[in-house]
């Protein structure tokens, strides 16, 4: 199937360094419409750098990145309009109300004011914060801000959605709702690029998992493919492939240091 459909994200020999530190060492990747990619890796592995390149925050890199057949370096504005991004930290203008904030974001995508208001109201209600639509967000909990952040990432109905720890701070019901939303959006043909440290969630929502370590993709496949080595959970696979299997021993060391 993958051979007949054009990849929506195509990364070829992607390299990036900060001075002498090489963060990405030649990543090759093709992502197809409707896929939910679970992008995992330890801290400093190169996840954030990959995401920042995909969303156009880093333009100084080697290699080629094509989004929907458009080179990110040549058509950055067009590429950005096809992507929805939800950052890891709740980076938001919190002196605004959700409606004001979403109006601002929608207008940057060239959306009509009435359409933004209608869609924002529906989305805020669906996320359970419709009653707070006109309250300033500086009084919001982390979970409420995260919901607004999620909405701001999808309000323009993008083809590609890049989620960086999107469940951070959400309550259990919202987590269930977002997981379901990811599945439904993928069924609609949207591509989800999901970065997270929460292995159990990645395991459940992703239909393809990419494991990056030291700037290289060291595993690529479905959860079923990855567990063929005998491991039963993504956590075990992650620990084994990144050479961090001594998690239990480290925990014991921490406890013994306290005693």
């Amino acid at each position: 199937m993958e051979n007949t459909i054009q990849p929506i994200i195509s990364i070829r020999n992607l390299r990036k360094d900060y001075g002498e530190k090489q963060v990405l060492k030649g990543i090759n990747l093709e992502v197809y419409p409707g896929q939910v990619i679970g992008y995992i890796g330890p801290n400093g592995a190169g996840k954030s750098t990959t995401v920042k390149i995909l969303i156009g925050l880093i333009s100084n890199f080697e290699g080629e990145v094509l989004i929907n057949d458009e080179n990110i370096k040549d058509n950055i504005i067009s590429v950005k309009s096809q992507i929805g991004y939800v950052p890891e930290n709740a980076e938001i203008y919190d002196v605004l109300t959700p409606l004001e904030y979403l109006d601002f974001i929608g207008k940057l995508y060239g959306m009509d004011e009435d359409k933004i208001a209608l869609r924002a109201t529906k989305l805020l209600t669906a996320f359970g914060i419709g009653g707070n639509a006109d309250q300033r967000m500086d009084t919001f909990s982390k979970g409420m801000r995260q919901k607004v952040l999620l909405i701001s990432g999808i309000i323009h109905n993008p083809k590609i959605i890049i989620l960086d720890e999107p469940l951070s701070g959400l309550d259990a019901n919202a987590v269930i709702m977002v997981k379901e939303l990811i599945s439904l959006m993928a069924k609609e043909g949207k591509t989800i690029f999901y970065c997270s440290h929460m292995m159990d969630v990645v395991e459940k929502v992703s239909d393809r998992i990419l494991l990056i370590n030291n700037g290289e993709i060291i595993a690529d496949g479905t959860f079923e493919d990855l567990k063929a080595g005998g491991n039963q959970t993504l956590e075990n696979i992650f620990a084994k492939l990144t050479g961090k299997e001594e998690g239990n021993r480290e925990a014991a060391d921490v406890l013994s240091a306290l005693n």
Binding site: N43, G46, I55, I58, S59, P87, Y93, V95, E100, L108
Partner: protein
């Protein structure tokens, strides 16, 4: 409402911005939201209101009101002092101090705010639009503050000192504003050189406390100073250290405008210094200070982010402004 007029005025220069690759509609959207946020941001002038958990909707206008009041005191002082050279030196010294401390205490957070990197830059906004919106936002804010401090003095100068004096006063304001921005830039660099990025944020907090005390002191001191006759006996030409004080250069410029042929040679030299100093400071800001400043700012940004944060020096020119 006033914000809209200001933005409409700025967008009169739309053709120029468009030639620079700016999307004028996005520029309007960004400036509108930035100015709305300025009006809601806590600052040194509305801390009491914030403590009472009241939401602020007109913070920048409140700052302008207080600065305007201070400007009025300064104008009364200017009118009362019999020597114009002395009056203008005192007036513009106070102007530059007020503008600089207000910019440092109330606008630094805006300058080091990296949220734009995650909110605006991932959207379909060009680098030109983003950079120009940032420059204009800072420019509008500075102009609002400078206007508030100087409007009463300007009106006084035009009405009571004549047309030429009024125009010279306007030039003095523009030069003093440029030099204040230069002063703020220098202050940032010095503080960043001697402290860590995290300490820099602490410094700003201390500065806000200092400003609160300064405002309090100013409202007690200025009215007394106006009544005082101590300043009347001072001859500034004998105070040689003033040769390196920009507000004295500005006063010299005014002195020439009103005395013209009878002015001393030294006064002409100071006036030339006043006229050339903005050009020199602009050159220093753009060529020498700005690149280092952007790199330093990136270190402040990085202090609260992961290790793969984008160093600003790697971005397109101007993004770090």
């Amino acid at each position: 409402m006033f914000n809209r007029y200001i933005i409409n005025f700025v967008l009169l220069f739309k053709p120029i911005f468009q030639k620079m690759g700016v999307d004028a509609e996005q520029l309007r959207i960004i400036l509108t939201i930035k100015m709305k946020m300025d009006d809601r941001r806590p600052n040194a002038y509305n801390q009491q209101r914030q403590k009472k958990d009241k939401q602020v909707n007109n913070a920048s206008w409140l700052v302008m009101f207080f600065l305007g009041l201070t400007g009025l005191f300064l104008t009364v002082l200017l009118a009362n002092l019999k020597q114009p050279l002395l009056g203008h030196t005192v007036y513009f010294s106070a102007f530059m101090v007020m503008l600089s401390v207000t910019l440092i205490s109330d606008f630094t957070n805006v300058l080091i705010d990296v949220r734009d990197n995650y909110i605006i830059l991932p959207r379909p906004v060009s680098d030109s639009t983003f950079t120009i919106s940032r420059i204009l936002h800072i420019g509008i804010h500075t102009a609002k503050m400078a206007f508030a401090i100087s409007i009463s003095g300007l009106v006084y100068s035009f009405i009571f000192e004549g047309l030429i004096s009024g125009f010279v006063f306007l030039i003095e304001i523009l030069i003093a504003t440029t030099l204040s921005v230069f002063l703020v830039n220098i202050t940032y660099l010095i503080v960043l050189k001697i402290t860590s990025p995290q300490r820099f944020k602490d410094f700003i907090s201390y500065f806000q406390i200092f400003l609160s005390v300064f405002i309090f002191a100013a409202y007690y001191t200025l009215p007394r100073l106006i009544d005082s006759s101590v300043l009347d006996g001072v001859d500034l030409r004998e105070v040689y250290v003033l040769a390196i004080v920009p507000s004295y250069w500005l006063a010299a410029l005014h002195e020439i405008a009103i005395t013209l042929k009878t002015a001393q040679l030294s006064t002409y030299i100071y006036a030339v210094l006043a006229l050339t100093s903005p050009i020199v400071s602009f050159y220093l800001i753009i060529k020498v200070l700005a690149p280092g400043f952007n790199q330093k700012l990136s270190s402040i940004s990085a202090s609260g982010d992961d290790q793969t944060v984008v160093p600003l020096k790697e971005k397109e020119p101007g993004r770090g402004l």
